[in-house]
Amino acid sequence: MKVSQITVFLENKKGRLAEVTEALASRGVNIRAASIADTIDYGLLRLIVSDPVQARQALAEAGFSASETEVLAVEVEDRPGGLASIIRCLADAGINIEYLYAFVGKSGEKAIVVLRSEDTERAREVLQKNNVTLLTGEQVHRL
């Protein structure tokens, strides 16, 4: 199972973020990781959740525009240079990263980073070749 990210379109209006999170809570959906990219007028809320299917339903019912994207969830050594080494191997392979953000929880001693690149398949290959641990959808959504 792939790691699935939910992206929600939000206008910069008071209370909208509260409404999104409440809509998810009401369906028992847990948020594992979150990040916001914003412009002056609107923003994109990116979420990794416990149950993407439930989440999409909850958001649609609450009237939000949401879409689902595949991302990579990467285990990172929790020490100086841990993230740098991973990004370096992607850079050397000529793969651009569109965005990344960190997980709320950890898996054991390691941190987790969510990463979206322009070419997910190639990024996956490169990381695996460099012995970087990628988490599966099951692992991520049920953390």
């Binding site: 379109f9 909208r16 007028d41 525009s65 949401a66």
Partner: protein
């Protein structure tokens, strides 16, 4: 496409009345002047409303010496017709009226029109012209999905199709699945109706699992409501037909005022029966050819209810460049909007329909939008608020930025003004029953 072409009648059979439709401009203008003079005399003698109006304007029928003199005549408006409800503008006694139609007014009284026997004959011929121009012949089976009744669409197209000698199926509107079955079983080759209903029929057909190959349709003739090139292409693709637009309004006659030929480059106006002008809707002044303004029509042959300079409130422009179909009648562009909803932004006339077309082209789906006009200092601003619906949202920031830019750029090149684009959440723009209110004008004049 080539098979379609083969099934069309040869060019010389695509004119219903070659003598009238290809007459020289000189001949036409002579005929128009004679008919205009007769019409003015007729209403002056028979319709107290017009006698009073002409007297107030200080114009006598004999003052109409050239076609340009039409500009001396007063306008007739929808309100004048309402005030004359029901028969106040009739120029023939009821014993000579053989048919009465009325247009449904969404507000206030409806407008009533009467036809003499000669009016009906002319009307049939004018509709026969547009049917012929759209590729219909006596060999066709014409499926009419217009409503029959007081509305002029059903009867108008019906009589014209009979006049041609086609096999007419007066299905009327409604029960769309039945429409599809009838088209299939009866082997309809021509579909007549409104463009929006044609699209609905097409969609229902696909839902029923009927493919266009199972139908015999080859042409469609659509009218009675605004259309667009996008809509036409969609109908043509879904039903696999050639679609032409026609135009008319019940006050003036009904369908048959103008219609496209298969060149699809504007609607040829039946100028031997109607005198067309384009005016600036604000000042009432005539506009030169090529300018967009309000279409004003004077009937030239009607007996039952002749109208002088009727203000259609439809916005279009005229084109007299030659058309390879051989018709010498000028063409009007597809109606671009109503004077009621024209916006003037920094002195530029803009219609909501233009912006809607841009959005439809970019998004490929029916857009939910709102236009907000405001003024910053002395400068008008146009904000286009567009809902980011789930259908167009693919989750990328770059996609949204791109969408904003595209809309901005397209509106700039279509309308000549640069808008700001605001992307808003679904359902944040107010919905209304029926006609949506798309424009919010915050400017203080």
């Amino acid at each position: 496409m080539s098979t379609l072409k083969r099934r069309l009648p040869p060019l010389k059979h695509r004119l219903w009345d070659p003598k009238a439709e290809t007459m020289s401009r000189e001949e036409l203008e002579k005929l128009q002047l004679e008919r205009l003079q007769a019409t003015v005399r007729r209403v002056y003698e028979r319709v107290p409303f017009y006698r009073e109006k002409l007297d107030n304007a200080g114009v006598k029928p004999e003052d109409i010496r050239t076609l340009e003199d039409v500009q001396k005549l007063p306008f007739t408006c929808k309100d004048d017709m309402r005030a004359a409800y029901p028969y106040g503008l009739f120029a023939a006694p009821l014993k000579d009226i053989v048919r009465i139609h009325a247009s449904s007014g969404t507000t206030g009284l409806s407008t009533v029109v009467g036809y003499t026997r000669r009016d009906l004959r002319n009307w049939s011929d004018l509709v026969a012209r547009l049917l012929t121009a759209g590729g219909v012949t006596r060999h066709d089976v014409v499926h009419i999905s217009f409503g029959y009744g007081l509305f002029t669409g059903g009867f108008g197209l019906h009589q014209g199709s009979e006049r041609i000698g086609a096999s007419v199926i007066p299905v009327s509107s409604g029960n769309t699945e039945r429409q599809v079955r009838l088209m299939k079983d009866f082997g309809a080759t021509a579909l007549v109706g409104t463009p929006s209903y044609a699209l609905h029929i097409a969609e229902t057909m696909y839902e029923m699992g009927v493919s266009p190959d199972e139908l015999s349709l080859r042409v469609g003739l659509f009218g009675a409501e605004p259309s667009s090139e996008t809509l036409r292409r969609e109908i043509e693709a879904k039903l696999q037909i050639l679609a032409t637009d026609n135009y008319g309004l019940s006050e003036v006659m009904g369908p048959g005022v103008s219609g496209e030929c298969l060149n699809k480059n504007g609607l040829h106006i039946n100028e031997d029966h109607f005198l067309a002008e384009i005016i600036n809707p604000e000042t009432g002044e005539a506009l030169p050819e090529g300018y967009t303004g309000e279409l004003v029509l004077t009937t030239l042959t009607k007996e039952g209810i002749p109208l002088l300079r009727y203000r259609t409130r439809d916005l279009t422009r005229l084109d007299s460049s030659p058309c390879s179909c051989g018709r010498t009648f000028r063409r009007m562009a597809r109606v671009q909007g109503r004077t009621d909803d024209m916006m003037i932004i920094r002195g530029v006339n803009v219609f909501p329909s233009q912006i809607e077309n841009v959005l439809l082209e970019i998004e490929g789906v029916e857009p939910h939008y709102e236009l907000v006009l405001d003024r910053v200092g002395a400068l008008d601003t146009l904000e286009i608020r567009v809902e980011v619906t789930p259908e167009i949202f693919e989750g990328r920031m770059a996609g949204l930025v791109e969408l904003e830019k595209k809309i901005c750029h397209k509106v700039q090149s279509e309308c000549g003004i640069t808008p700001t684009v605001s992307l808003v959440e679904p359902k944040s723009i107010q919905r209304s029953q029926g006609k949506a209110k798309r424009v919010i004008d915050k400017r203080v004049f």
